[in-house]
Amino acid sequence: ECFKKKKKQPTATLTVQLTLACVSAPQLFYSFFKSLVGKDVVVELKNDLSICGTLHSVDQYLNIKLTDISVTDPEKYPHMLSVKNCFIRGSVVRYVQLPADEVDTQLLQDAARKEAMQQKQ
């Protein structure tokens, strides 16, 4: 869905599934998001609302604070227009879209694999 909103159509979607079970998955996410503070992200909620903003902070439950937000579909959600900063409950987040050049995917893959192997022991 989010791809349709983009101006350019991606030619392929590559999915990297990083299998990372149990305890360290939330921790890895927390660490990962901490490293993204200050970057621009788009948070898509489970109710389909998408919010662009700068990642201000994240906690261990992946509650997210965004600043300087804008709503990607203001016609559907006009009430958010006047909001600059918000707190988003982690449990309502469906996706966090990241600018690709902010993500060291290789590092993330490596980190996740190592962690998965660690957990298997």
Partner: protein
Amino acid sequence: MVLLKNLHPPTEGVRHEQAETTAVLDGQRLGCGTLYVAETRLSWFDSSGLGFSLEYPSIGLHAISRDVSAYPQEHLYVMVNGKLNKENEAEMAEKAADDDDDGSSDGGDDDEDEGAITEIRFVPSDKAALESMFSAMCECQALHPDPEDDDSDNDFEGEEYDVEEAEAEHGHADIPTFYTCDEGLSALTQEGQATLERLEGMLAESVAQQYHMAGVRTEETKAEFEDGMEVDTAAMEAGQFEDADVEHCRLTVRHKQLHLKIAVQ
């Protein structure tokens, strides 16, 4: 006219109390009253004692609204998952949030529409209090994380991957027992803790790099994505995307597993 229940304001754990606060629920003014940001729940009562309360897990988002050209007064904006029913506000919102499907829910909020929300604005007469109101809500939200529950991930759309199947096919053992965030750290072995620290270090040091596709783990896939795009696995050879412009990535937690989706040009 929304019927308000006659409840009692909380007496304990009130992080912030704001009198002379008007509540507007889905555009309907409920009158002037007092907002209580308590550790157990968020509630509002007017001078006659009628009001409503919200459970924090049902509150998806809250924010300070300051742009008076969009809404004439500065206020605290609260987005509640689900629709508030006249009879059973907090309970309804929570049921909608939990996506509970044992039996039918009261009041017939049967559409189970994840998109259904209730927008509430709390307009204090004292605008300077908005920051405190906002912060108090943030703090209280952190007190109510979701319970560790596999089913809570079920409202992701579709079965993008059957991760258990993928695990099995790759010869992995059963998925280990899950720990809550709180327990997890203490349950880590020394090695696990060292790994976590190393990970945190690695992630903290990471800088934007040229995107390399070497070593991509290709999944089984006839997996369809929720946007209907199928992956051409043949294209996922190592090195294929070295020069690609990565459009964006998506990172999501699902079934306690990390899914990273990267769209490439």
